[in-house]
């Protein structure tokens, strides 16, 4: 299927009956989400209006589809949904109408037409074991498809923890040999938008940020600082309880009911970076901590294997105590042995002298 001729976003919005007001609201919301000053909304609007809708190819690999569900599942037209008016989503398994060969042809055509300019969005991890046979599309392994599609992309956007860090498939024992996108693609700019799933408005916001400002400022895990620059802990509304030493010790105890800090029931807020505590979910309805469950750290690498969701951060995740028992026994044995050996140096007839310790 041939892609649409490049027409401006402004035009597209008009064609789709999106009022200017709604559009401005979207720009304002995005600006404030990025903690930009009010004037930035106009900037974003201007930028978006001018550009032609960029081509976006969305590859879904070893994933649960939760990310696209998060983005699209809404019971009323959401501002996030507007993003699809801003971009030209030329390939996406769940949303596209095409199937089979025609879908793949559409992908390749979009790649050729927008060579060097299209944005490649990936969700899901890439299995490597046994030649990548654990996830294939159209007879191609994910690995092959990723490499082929990434070759001419302008940048990669890894949506969700699976593509960003390996996610669930990558968790112990990782039977499929799942890896993150950044483990494979080394020569293209990668923006990670992790989360399990990521907040929908964050996904949209990152895309808008990319389109408006180019590659955003990224942290050491390639996550946009605008959305992943603060830890949950530092923005958590329950923080005062942490400071006051008031914790829920177990679910549904007095502390839990009073809404106290969930550190002791395993909240990973202090080491998790995301926008959940500020932007929240479902149009700002709530987020896990507010609902009474500790943050599981889903936007961080290896969060599945990090010692359990219900063990506090300060507990060592390795729980095998037999090692410690062995250490004690070994210490006693070697200490006794070494000292018995030392005692052989002492002259038995003189040692210790009978009056030692009693001379003075």
């Amino acid at each position: 299927m041939k892609t649409n001729k490049p027409i401006s976003v402004k035009q597209t919005l008009q064609n789709n009956g999106v009022s200017r007001r709604s559009f401005m609201k979207f720009c304002a919301a995005t600006a404030s989400m990025m903690a930009l000053p009010p004037g930035a909304a106009k900037l974003i609007a201007a930028a978006l209006e001018k550009i032609t809708r960029p081509s976006v190819i969305w590859l879904s690999f070893q994933e649960c589809t939760g990310c696209i569900e998060s983005l699209t599942r809404s019971h009323s037209p959401s501002i996030e949904g507007l993003i699809f008016d801003v971009i030209s989503l030329d390939y996406q398994h769940t949303l596209q109408a095409a199937a089979g060969e025609s879908a793949e042809n559409a992908r390749r055509a979009a790649m050729a037409e927008n060579k060097g300019e299209y944005l490649l969005v990936v969700d899901g991890s890439i299995p490597l074991k046994n030649g990548g046979v654990y996830s294939t599309i159209a007879g191609m392994s994910n690995l092959e498809m990723l490499k082929e599609t990434a070759k001419d992309a302008a940048a990669l956007l890894c949506v969700g923890s699976c593509s960003a860090f390996g996610g669930l498939p990558n968790a112990n024992p990782n039977p499929t040999g799942a890896v993150a996108v950044s483990d494979i693609i080394k020569d293209k700019p990668i923006i990670n938008v992790p989360g399990c799933p990521p907040i929908p408005s964050v996904i949209a916001g990152v895309i808008v940020q990319y389109l408006t400002f180019g590659l955003p400022e990224l942290d050491h895990l390639n996550r946009p600082m605008a959305f992943y620059g603060q830890s949950i802990h530092d923005r958590c509304y329950r923080r005062p309880f942490y400071e006051r030493g008031q914790f829920a010790e177990s679910f549904d105890d007095e502390g839990a009911r009073k809404g106290w800090c969930l550190y002791k029931v395993g909240c990973k807020g202090p080491t998790t970076y995301n926008a959940c505590a500020t932007t929240k979910w479902n149009n700002g309805t709530s987020f896990p901590i507010e609902a009474g469950h500790g943050c599981i750290g889903c936007s961080e690498p290896n969060f599945w294997d990090n010692g359990g969701f219900y063990n506090p951060l300060s507990q060592t995740p390795i729980t095998d105590k037999t090692n410690l028992g062995v250490a004690v026994a070994a210490g006693v044995a070697t200490g006794v042995g070494a000292t018995l050996l030392a005692k052989t140096k002492q002259n038995k007839t003189k040692t210790p002298s009978s009056n030692d310790g009693e001379n003075l």
């Binding site: 006051r244 080491t271 951060l313 995740p317 250490a327 005692k343 210790p352 009693e358």
Partner: protein, 216 residues
């Protein structure tokens, strides 16, 4: 594996193993030696006196307060401060719960943090003093200096992590946990063993003196 995962996981695990091994290694190496059992007639029985000395020695005799009164206060303060931070900061209590299965009530951060800061200041002062005082200059060795520094590091890094100074929080947290691992590994092979040795040592002196009718 991130630094934090390493610090929380294998680093701490191995540190605990070495810690336990080392402690029992050192204790065994003392207690396997011959025990002196006096044959002379005791003036007074000394069994409980020995235990009493373990506690009474924590407070110097009044006559010495002129000379070491200030030192006594600062050394007690830093020990208590360290213990307080170790045992009553919420996340630390969870650490012990994971190891020992018991937990207890904690103190608010508004108390723990100043205590930690004050304790760290005392340790730094102690380190400076150790460089300057003539008696300490004469008798101090690497063990003394390193033990001070290694004990101060968890306090320093913990405060830095809490206050979000310098690095990213999880990096500072990892460094804090690594500093604890360092402390655990250093502990059995250094003078920090006095944490365990003070009791039997005081007890023995108390016994010896008490059986002679002398208050220890």
């Amino acid at each position: 594996m991130t630094l934090l995962e390493f610090a929380r996981g294998p680093a701490l695990q191995w540190a605990l193993i070495i810690f336990l091994f080392g402690i029992f290694f050192r204790l065994a190496s003392i207690f396997v030696f011959h025990k002196n059992k006096p044959l002379s007639a005791a003036r007074k029985p000394s069994f409980f006196a020995g235990f009493k000395t373990i506690f009474s020695r924590s407070i110097p005799h009044a006559i010495f307060r002129k000379r070491i009164g200030g030192l006594f206060i600062t050394s007690t303060a830093w020990h208590l401060g360290f213990l307080f931070v170790l045992l009553f900061f919420g996340p630390h209590i969870d650490f012990f719960k994971g190891l020992l299965g018991v937990s207890w009530a904690g103190a608010p951060n508004s108390v723990v943090m100043p205590v930690a800061g004050f304790t760290l200041a005392l340790l730094i002062w102690a380190l400076i003093r150790r460089f300057r005082h003539p008696v300490l200059k004469k008798i101090s060795n690497m063990d003394d200096y390193l033990s001070l520094i290694i004990t101060a590091l968890p306090l320093l890094t913990g405060l830095m992590a809490s206050a979000h100074i310098e690095m990213r929080y999880e990096t500072m947290l990892a460094i804090h946990m690594l500093s604890v691992s360092l402390l655990l590994v250093w502990f059995p092979f250094s003078k920090l063993m006095h944490v365990l040795l003070f009791a039997p040592s005081r007890k023995r002196l108390g016994e010896k003196l008490a059986r002679r009718g002398v208050k220890a």
